[in-house]
Symmetry: D2
Subunit: 261 residues, 4 copies
Amino acid sequence: MRLRTSCDLKFEIFEPTPFILMLRPRSGSQQWVEREEYKITPSTPVFEFTDNYGNLCQRLIAQPGMFSISTSSDVVTSNFIDQGFGAPFIEIQNLPDAVLSYLLPSRYCESDCFNEMGAAITEGQLMGYNQVAAITSWLRENIEYLPGSNNEPLSAIQVNNRQFGVCRDLAHLGIALCRSLSIPARIVVGYLYNLEPMDMHAWFEAYIGNRWYTFDATQIDSPGGYVVLGFGRDAADVAIFNQFGPSVFPVEHLVKVKECP
Amino acid sequence: MRLRTSCDLKFEIFEPTPFILMLRPRSGSQQWVEREEYKITPSTPVFEFTDNYGNLCQRLIAQPGMFSISTSSDVVTSNFIDQGFGAPFIEIQNLPDAVLSYLLPSRYCESDCFNEMGAAITEGQLMGYNQVAAITSWLRENIEYLPGSNNEPLSAIQVNNRQFGVCRDLAHLGIALCRSLSIPARIVVGYLYNLEPMDMHAWFEAYIGNRWYTFDATQIDSPGGYVVLGFGRDAADVAIFNQFGPSVFPVEHLVKVKECP
Amino acid sequence: MRLRTSCDLKFEIFEPTPFILMLRPRSGSQQWVEREEYKITPSTPVFEFTDNYGNLCQRLIAQPGMFSISTSSDVVTSNFIDQGFGAPFIEIQNLPDAVLSYLLPSRYCESDCFNEMGAAITEGQLMGYNQVAAITSWLRENIEYLPGSNNEPLSAIQVNNRQFGVCRDLAHLGIALCRSLSIPARIVVGYLYNLEPMDMHAWFEAYIGNRWYTFDATQIDSPGGYVVLGFGRDAADVAIFNQFGPSVFPVEHLVKVKECP
Amino acid sequence: MRLRTSCDLKFEIFEPTPFILMLRPRSGSQQWVEREEYKITPSTPVFEFTDNYGNLCQRLIAQPGMFSISTSSDVVTSNFIDQGFGAPFIEIQNLPDAVLSYLLPSRYCESDCFNEMGAAITEGQLMGYNQVAAITSWLRENIEYLPGSNNEPLSAIQVNNRQFGVCRDLAHLGIALCRSLSIPARIVVGYLYNLEPMDMHAWFEAYIGNRWYTFDATQIDSPGGYVVLGFGRDAADVAIFNQFGPSVFPVEHLVKVKECP
């Protein structure tokens, strides 16, 4: 599947405002970026760097006035996400070093508080993929997916209390439950083909059977059409924009995902 | 000042238990490790790796029975920590890339919730070192340092509610307040000469005037004699031991810090 | 200056052949990639990774038959390269850690053999930028720039003996001479606007006055219009394609650099 | 086997001289450092960093006068190096990213010039470990191991011409031959128990069957007792000391390796 994504953001800036953006998809084992555009208006010096998780991040200072970011990409991605029922739990001692940090609790995934709940939800399951599949089913049945229900990320504890949340919030609870079982898990932000309503999206991955698998509790079945922008421990690591100083919110914000013509 | 530190841990293990340890001090700009010992009994295969924050971590699987770790080091460190009143706030755009992740909220430092409190505590202060000094003074006056008061880390929000905590908890609140002002801050674990009662210790550092400065709200004045074991966003990153599976606690745990003979 | 670059390569492949490519420009402090295309025909799984020098590399296995790579980009770059006459030599002890490896001899830059020659060429020069400017002038006057004169990289010693070479070879000698004076130096591959004859290009950078400066002994004066694809110690690190197994050479190879419309 | 190593270096310094040292063994999958000492006289500020290859390096400026470095360690290492006859060649596309740079030619390993010779020496061998074993046997039979025969490293081409060299030189030729067959290979410096005459030692590793194997053409059979100080592409990367400015050589240099009492 070749998808054409676009994300346009427009801000009204009142004083020089530093931004860190994460809007450049990166080719990896899961996707190939065939075309990409990234325009900033007015033209502004930008520095790009790679963060601890391998994401490409763009730093700049927006000057007062209208400030807009316009990105677009053509990405080759899979029609169907891989499923791996039966893929085994990897013992801590056999995990790659680089995966270990995804076992630790983080800002929005207080995995240290979910030991009992994680065990209860996955009772009787084969260790590994089937446990995470059980967590995902549980989320679908018990936490309502309410796009637009809040702006600030909810932590796993908060989502569990409220019983609803946006895609990112459901991912937080899924990740916390995985980590409580010593399964490394990370958040992913990006785009999803046919998402309703269309917007940026977030889901999670769990490390099982020596690879990362995709899970998304907001979708009934598991089609493909995912385009990754970034990975992290939770939403704190993968804001598509982090802005410093007095808050500014996009006055326009438009996301599109279509099949490439 | 040349300090001789030691940390001995003894566990009773009931089933094979993976551990990740962070007990090897590393030489850097702040300290020089002249001698070091690290013994594990019974002898066990250990793999060492470097985490995202530059810490040396040791992975192993403890087998059932008594399991003990005995570490010791001679470290050259400063008699007095550097103070830097007047050292300026560094604008986000001028921070080194590697420092940026210390601006983000983390598991135990919900900096996103402290904007108003951070501003209030530092009102009228020169931006930079003086703000962090004001935060540290505020912690000394308002949060009671109660060694041994709890085992599990408290997050900044929790410490702020309870008004007391162990060294690590005070550091969490200090870090969250710094980050709320866009000052990068990180936790440090290690040893402190003359700490009362003697134990592992935790404090924090803030990035000001293009370098890291040490702050410790648990000590009235600011002597030196600090030995660093590791750095991280908060306690989740710098557990001196992370253990996976059914919990085991040290049956013995002895820390000593003396001047080298 | 907004440049539109393209590089098209076509190979005839006789057996499955692993490639590592370095054809994706990366945004950094020197350039901003506004648009980029990277097409591989026939469609082939590609894995992208970052090497030790921060370059984006693409791995794939070309299957028998015609195999073509077509890349294109719009890059915002400077009209004029920065000059820094008087910029000072940085003492080894003050160099950033990440720069130190560019002091060591490497495959094609046997800097350990150029101590006397480096000293002679730069005699009487202010230490730093002026030394490297003197080296570059010396190269212009003494080594003939002969595009297309050889396919295999020449090492600094070989170039110095033959007194001619392609852009890459002149860069090797310049780098070796810089390193012989303890000035960190690295090769850069990419594109140059108005290069005659048009092709991929190589030049070098030296670290002086706390930053990297661009030097190009193949050009009389120093216009801008450089687009960077990758950095490395020498040509061994920055092949735009490394191919393994029986040698295959492009049957077609077309490079274009124009101003963006 | 528990080995006690020591290396003492003494220099007479005439002007402030920057050094980069690589004298701290690091625990890894192959060895465990139980005790370590690292003393510098007179006391001098030292900064430690990790290089591109994962080695711990120490930077300092030696002041005029006598300058001595005294290091010692107790290391648990294997009695016998692993042999892996039959371990398979790993196709380029299946190599970990971090291993790829060990396929490239480097300062002293001009692997690009050894394609025919590498093929000839390994003719008829099973691809993988057996090829490297054949290379090592060939080195033992054809290149004389002459400790102390030269101070400056010889490149693979030079060793092949002279037909003799020190340990490091034999390793260079071994590495170049491996890389000519697309087998990743790296130099290792450290200590060897019972080496005759005792001194620092160098050998090489090749990546086969998804792990690194040890090869040492200077020893008839392959006992164990190796202690690793550092890894690199060749001797340019792993000097136990790199010194900048007018050359200084150790006036004293004493290496010992014994079994721990």
